[in-house]
C-alpha cells in the first residue's frame, strides 16, 4: 500500500504538503504542489511574482483552504479552519509588511491577541498583567539575543530591523514549531539584514522549522538548508544548498534548468 508507506514516511517531516491545488474561480494558482520542511530546517522558497509562493504560504498558515491536496503536520493529517488553528499547532507567520501596531509597545505587540491575564476580585475582573507581559517579553528577547532599549518602547520608535526582530520574537513567543517568513528582509536597510538572518539561524538552532520566502540570493545562501522553486504554480526544482549554486537557482526562478538529471530528480515524488 503506497499510501500507508508514505504516511509512515511523513513522520520524518515537521510539515508536509501533498498535491496542493488551489483555484480562485477560473484561475489556478497552485497545481499539485508537494512540499516538506523538517525540524530545525530552513527551507528557502523562490519563484517569480505570481509563481504561487504567497498562495502556498497562506495555505500553510491556514488563511486559505486548499482546493485539493493534504497537509500533514507532525505525522498527522490536518485541516485548518482559520489561522487560529494553525497557530494553535505552532505554525506562525511573519509578514513582509511588518504586522505590528506602531502605537503600542514592544511587549504588548509580542503578546497581542494572547495577552497574559491576571484575575482580580475572585476572578470577576480579568485584567492584562502588564508586568508579566514585560517580564516575559524581556526574557524572550534575551533568549533570542534581540537588543532593545526597553520592552516599553513604542514599536513606532524602532528601526525596520528592530521591528522585524520584534515580529520574529512575536512569532516565536508561544512555542512555535514552524515559522513562515514572507520576504523578512525586503523592507530593511542593508546593515540590518544580517541581524535578522542571524536571528533566523538562531531559530534553527532551537529546532524550529523555518520557511523563508525571499528574492535575495544572499539571504537564501546564508541561512537555508534547502531551496525549492515554484514556477507557474507548480514544483519546478529543489535541491540541498550544497548541491546547487546561485546562478542555477536564479535560472529556476526564470524557468530554465541546466540538465535533464535535475528534472528527473525533481519528479521523484
Amino acid at each position: 500500500m503506497t499510501q500507508a508507506q508514505e504516511e509512515a514516511g511523513s513522520g520524518n517531516y515537521l510539515l508536509e504538503a501533498r498535491g496542493i491545488t488551489k483555484h480562485f474561480g477560473a484561475v489556478t494558482a497552485l497545481r499539485g504542489v508537494d512540499f516538506h520542511v523538517g525540524r530545525g530546517e530552513v527551507l528557502g522558497v523562490v519563484g517569480d511574482n505570481g509563481a504561487g509562493k504567497s498562495t502556498l504560504m497562506k495555505i500553510l498558515s491556514g488563511l486559505f483552504a486548499p482546493s485539493r491536496g493534504a497537509l500533514i503536520f507532525d505525522g498527522r493529517p490536518i485541516r485548518f479552519q482559520s489561522p487560529h488553528d494553525a497557530r494553535d499547532l505552532g505554525i506562525e507567520m511573519v509578514y513582509q509588511d511588518l504586522a505590528l501596531a506602531e502605537n503600542i509597545n514592544i511587549a504588548e505587540n509580542i503578546f497581542l491577541g494572547r495577552e497574559p491575564v491576571r484575575r482580580l476580585l475572585g476572578g470577576w475582573l480579568p485584567l492584562v498583567d502588564h508586568k508579566a507581559g514585560r517580564d516575559h517579553a524581556r526574557q524572550h528577547l534575551d533568549n533570542l539575543h534581540i537588543h532593545v532599549k526597553s520592552v516599553e518602547q513604542r514599536v513606532g520608535e524602532l528601526s525596520g530591523g528592530q521591528r522585524q526582530a520584534v515580529a520574529i520574537a512575536r512569532a516565536t513567543a508561544f512555542d512555535a514549531k514552524l515559522v513562515i517568513m514572507d520576504e523578512p528582509t525586503a523592507a530593511l536597510a542593508i546593515k540590518e539584514v544580517g541581524k535578522v538572518l542571524d536571528l533566523i539561524k538562531g531559530l534553527k538552532d532551537r529546532g524550529i522549522g523555518v520557511v523563508l520566502i525571499s528574492h535575495r540570493m544572499d539571504d537564501i545562501f546564508y541561512v537555508c538548508d534547502r531551496v525549492m522553486a515554484l514556477f507557474h504554480g507548480a514544483n519546478f526544482a529543489e535541491a540541498a544548498l550544497c548541491d546547487t549554486s546561485r546562478s542555477e537557482v536564479i535560472g529556476w526562478i526564470m524557468g530554465t534548468k541546466e540538465g535533464q538529471g535535475e528534472l528527473a530528480h525533481d519528479r521523484v515524488h
Binding site: A99, A101, E102, N109, L112, G113, E115
Partner: protein, 346 residues
C-alpha cells in the same frame, strides 16, 4: 558647565541619545500636560472673576454643564481610537431622551423608563457597528451620518416632534440631583450627582482601556487593524462592541440631559457630536487612531467647559466661544504635529 560634565559622564553615548531636559520631560508633559493647561486657564479665569470663579457654585456648575459632553466624548474617544468616527451621537442622545420621555408619558414604570434611554442608545450603536463591519460601509462616516438622520427622524416620529415634560425624580436623579454636603460661610455646598457619575464613568473607562484585554486590543486595532487581524483578533466583533458602547454612552447622555431639563425635547443634542469630537481632539487623541488617553479626553471636556463658563460669566458673545474652541482645536493638533516631529527625530 553642567552640560560638559554631563557629556563626559555619558561619553559612550552619541549626542542624540543623551536626553536633554525637554526630552526627559516629554513623556510627563505628554501625559499630564493637559492638566497644566487647565491649571493655567483656571488661574487666568480666577484673575478675571476673583469673586465668582472659584466659588463652589461655579465649579459645580462647570461639572453639571460638562456632564453630557463627558459621556458623549468618552464614547466618541473609543470610536476615534479605532480610527473611526460616530456622527450620530447627538441624534442618538435625542432618541434616547425622547424614548424615555415618551415611555414615561405613556405611564411605564420608572425603572424601565430609566433604562430605556441607555438601552435605545446601545441598540442604535449596535446597528452602527453591524452596518460598518458587516455591510462593509466604505467609512464609518457614511453609516453614522445615515444614523444621524435616522435617529433624529425616529426621535421626532415617536414624539410627534413635541416636547414631553415632567419625569419622576428617580429618572432625573443622575442628571439633576444634588447631594447636600452641608454649609460653608452661609453657602450651601451641593455636590451634583452628575459630577460623581462623570468621575465613576471615567475611572471605569480608564481601567477598561489601560488594563483590560479588550481595551488594549482597541488600541492595537487603532494602530494597525491588519496586525490585530493576523494576531487572531476578531476586529469586526471589537468594532461592533466599540460602536455599541459609544451608542450606549450617547443614550446615557440622553438620560442625563433629560434629568437636567426634566423633559425630552426635539432639538436636544443638535451639533453635540461635533462638541464631543472637539473635546476628544483637544484632549490629544489622534484622528488616525490608536493614540490618546482617558485623562486627555477628560481634560478636553473640561477645557471646553471652562471656555464656555468664563465667557458666560464675562458676558461675552457666544460667537467668541465658537471662535476660541475652533482656535484651540487647531492649536492642539498643531502642538501634536510638533510633538510627533520631535518624537520621530528622537
Amino acid at each position: 558647565m553642567t552640560v560638559s560634565t554631563d557629556r563626559s559622564r555619558t561619553g559612550n553615548r552619541t549626542e542624540a541619545e543623551a536626553p536633554g531636559l525637554g526630552i526627559r520631560l516629554l513623556p510627563i508633559l505628554d501625559r499630564y500636560g493637559i492638566l497644566l493647561v487647565i491649571l493655567v486657564m483656571g488661574l487666568v479665569l480666577y484673575a478675571l472673576q476673583p469673586d465668582v470663579f472659584f466659588s463652589w457654585r461655579n465649579i459645580t456648575n462647570i461639572f453639571k454643564q460638562t456632564a453630557v459632553n463627558s459621556m458623549l466624548a468618552i464614547g466618541m474617544f473609543l470610536v476615534i481610537l479605532t480610527a473611526g468616527i460616530d456622527l450620530s451621537v447627538g441624534s442618538v442622545l435625542a432618541l434616547g431622551m425622547m424614548s424615555l420621555a415618551v415611555a414615561n408619558a405613556a405611564g411605564w414604570a420608572w425603572p424601565i423608563v430609566l433604562l430605556l434611554g441607555p438601552a435605545v442608545g446601545l441598540a442604535t450603536g449596535f446597528v452602527n457597528g453591524v452596518g460598518i463591519t458587516k455591510l462593509r460601509m466604505p467609512h464609518p462616516f457614511i453609516m453614522t451620518l445615515g444614523m444621524l438622520f435616522m435617529a433624529r427622524g425616529l426621535a421626532n416620529l415617536i414624539s410627534g416632534g413635541v416636547p414631553y415634560t415632567g419625569l419622576p425624580d428617580a429618572v432625573r436623579f443622575l442628571g439633576s440631583a444634588q447631594i447636600e454636603l452641608g454649609e460653608l460661610d452661609g453657602t450651601r455646598l451641593n455636590l451634583p450627582v452628575g459630577l460623581i457619575v462623570t468621575i465613576v464613568v471615567y475611572l471605569i473607562f480608564w481601567v477598561f482601556l489601560e488594563h483590560s484585554v479588550l481595551g488594549r486590543r482597541i488600541y492595537a486595532i487603532g494602530g494597525n487593524p491588519q496586525a490585530a487581524r493576523v494576531s487572531g483578533i476578531n476586529v469586526d466583533r471589537v468594532l461592533i462592541f466599540v460602536y455599541s458602547l459609544c451608542g450606549l454612552m450617547a443614550g446615557f447622555a440622553g438620560l442625563m440631559m433629560a434629568g437636567r431639563t426634566n423633559s425630552g425635547f426635539p432639538n436636544a443634542g443638535i451639533g453635540a457630536e461635533l462638541e464631543a469630537i472637539a473635546a476628544v481632539i483637544i484632549g490629544g487623541a489622534s484622528f488616525f487612531g490608536g493614540r490618546g488617553t482617558v485623562l486627555g479626553v477628560f481634560g478636553g471636556v473640561i477645557i471646553m467647559g471652562l471656555i464656555s463658563n468664563t465667557l458666560n460669566l464675562n458676558n461675552v458673545s457666544v460667537f467668541w466661544q465658537q471662535i476660541l474652541i475652533g482656535l484651540i482645536i487647531v492649536v492642539a493638533v498643531f502642538l501634536d504635529v510638533v510633538r510627533r516631529g520631535i518624537g520621530t527625530r528622537r
